[in-house]
Symmetry: C2
Subunit: 339 residues, 2 copies
DNA sequence: TTGAAAGCGCTAACAC
DNA sequence: GTGTTAGCGCTTTCAA
């Protein structure tokens, strides 16, 4: 349709009656070019509003100044904030960010990765789906070794760099907090997935109970799909136990808000009868009643960190690093039993 | 750094002992190629795992299969959901989406647009910043006529296609609802910007009052910066008026939640003493107490629609269209005064 | 029905 | 200090 005709090196060369190569060299400050020539080239470039054609450049280098991001769902404060951190950091190095959404589907994730390679992005940052068990689509191939850094969710093997939150420590701290509030019958509400993130948190929960000589009861470890209805149902089952839990630790915001609804529906008081705390980055946790205690990820920082690591790989570093970002615990009304 | 060596037409041609041109033609189903040749080419391509190099293609066409999106801030359910809609629609046409964030800064927006052009995206979808008054950075130039479609926020002139919510109608409906609940002293809480979106909503509010023979009182039109502290302060000023408003219409979620806090803090009952409704896409509006009545944008639909329009421009259509997407009113506890 | 060759914009190896 | 040339992968005349 369009004749987007930007000025090219050729145009400048023609106008100045010199060779394209000279213009190219002058523009990138090659020392073998005389100052006189460089000056007129610079000026002409300025006048003609020259800007280098990335695409031509990329055809040679085989890489666009783009970094790809694959997230399981974008419509989430957590991921949009990770994305924001990545974008911020990438911009510093002159890279733009292109994001794709796997919608928690393994197939889509594979397709996304294929598309990233086709686009010749310089590198990829990915948060894998819940169902991803096979990670070969991220592995370098004979024809393509796009570097990949994982963020938030990582594969079990340590073949790639990753930036993750400290789930063990966070869950340990949250559980210890509940214990300090006098709770002893502490339940945990998990999502149904195989992510390391989940096992880590469960691990922290169990450790904290051990550390305080509290028995771990299997019936207090509940599972729900990540949707409100299921979270409510699972919580109701917990509340119906002969020995009702006096506290619940929810592993994400959907579960947290669902648990809150279920407890209220049961006519129980939060936190007096059932205390509540959960992993969540939802700012409205402090607007509900009671205000909800949460453990927040430093999502933006996670994005920035992942991007910096990716940059190091793009620039040739082969060393894989695993960076753990601390969480932030925000104690609010839902888990405060004493003053 | 890397030697990402994908199979090229040249490789296929070499392997088959035919010319590059023939391979190219066979692959794209050019009818002048014999079926026999086509078959062996197809098969070889399959075996060698050939995939076309977008970049080489783009060097000729001057365009990458990318559409750019510029949003004022990404860490927002609204914009990430618009983005999701765009991505979904773009994928259908084989385009990927690259997004940039202006952070509500005019300078950044200009820089973003420049970068989009440098990347040779096929088109741009933008939601302008609050401070953008000059829109020349979006206009086609002698050397570049990247098509631009606006979403959610648009420039005052009608030079570009745009997809916007029906602010007049939405505010009219919300105000009428408050009136139907018996409210007569209805205040409006606005953000401090020049966006058409704001004047539209104010317009709908005023119209609805007129239609019901209710006087518009200037002191009931309040302004606040878009942050919670300011929203609370502005609401407190409203509540301190000699004739206290009996209802408030807030123009976005920050203002809405701020107003809620201020009313509660003043010890007033929602909705009995002050009813509340506001524009918001925040799902937690139904988790606070009282549940908040909202007017929601169909953000995903807006993104999809904008993308479809952009596609039409990319494919050559010069006709600018302005599409208005209806909002969805969700009446909840905060504005329900009778059964 | 197929091949040869030019050209998109740029860089780098190799002259001079 | 500067020019010439080849080549990145692809499409598209022009010839045969």
């Amino acid at each position: 349709m369009t004749k987007n005709k930007h000025a090219s090196l050729k145009d400048i060369a023609a106008k100045l009656g010199i060779s394209i190569a000279t213009v190219s060299r002058a523009l990138k400050g090659n020392p073998s070019i005389s100052k006189a020539t460089r000056d007129i080239v610079m000026q002409a470039a300025e006048e003609m509003n020259y800007s280098k054609n990335f695409i031509a450049d990329s055809l040679r280098s085989g890489q666009l100044p783009l970094i790809g991001v694959i997230v399981p769902h974008a419509v989430t404060l957590f991921y949009s904030s990770v994305l924001d951190g990545i974008e911020h950091e990438a911009a510093k190095e002159g890279y733009a960010v292109i994001s794709m959404n796997s919608h928690e589907s393994y197939e889509e994730e594979c397709a996304n990765m294929t598309n990233m390679r086709k686009l010749h992005v310089a590198g990829v940052i990915a948060a894998v789906t819940q169902e991803t068990a096979d990670f070969r689509h991220f592995a370098p191939t004979a024809t393509d070794d796009t570097p990949v850094v994982f963020v938030a969710r990582e594969p079990p093997d340590n073949t790639h760099s990753a930036v993750v939150a400290d789930g063990v420590e966070a869950a340990h701290k949250a559980t210890t907090h509940l214990i300090s509030q006098g709770c002893r019958r502490i339940a945990i509400l998990c999502g149904p997935n195989r992510l390391k993130l989940v096992t880590d948190r469960k691990h922290g929960y169990i450790e904290a109970l051990h550390d305080n000589n509290i028995r771990v009861r299997p019936e207090y470890v509940a599972y729900a799909s990540i949707n409100t209805a299921d979270a409510i149902a699972a919580t109701e089952r917990l509340l119906a136990l002969p020995e009702r839990p006096d506290a619940i630790l929810a592993l994400n915001d959907t579960l947290l808000f669902g648990a809150m609804k279920a407890i209220k529906k049961a006519g129980l008081d939060i936190p007096r009868e059932v205390a509540l705390i959960g992993f969540s980055d939802v700012e409205y946790a402090e607007d509900v009643s009671p205000t909800l205690s949460t453990i927040e990820d430093q999502s933006r920082l996670m994005g920035e960190t992942a991007c910096r690591i990716l940059m190091s790989h793009i620039n040739g570093s082969a060393r894989t690093v695993r960076k753990i970002i601390p969480t932030i615990q925000k104690i609010r009304g839902s888990s405060l039993l004493k003053r």
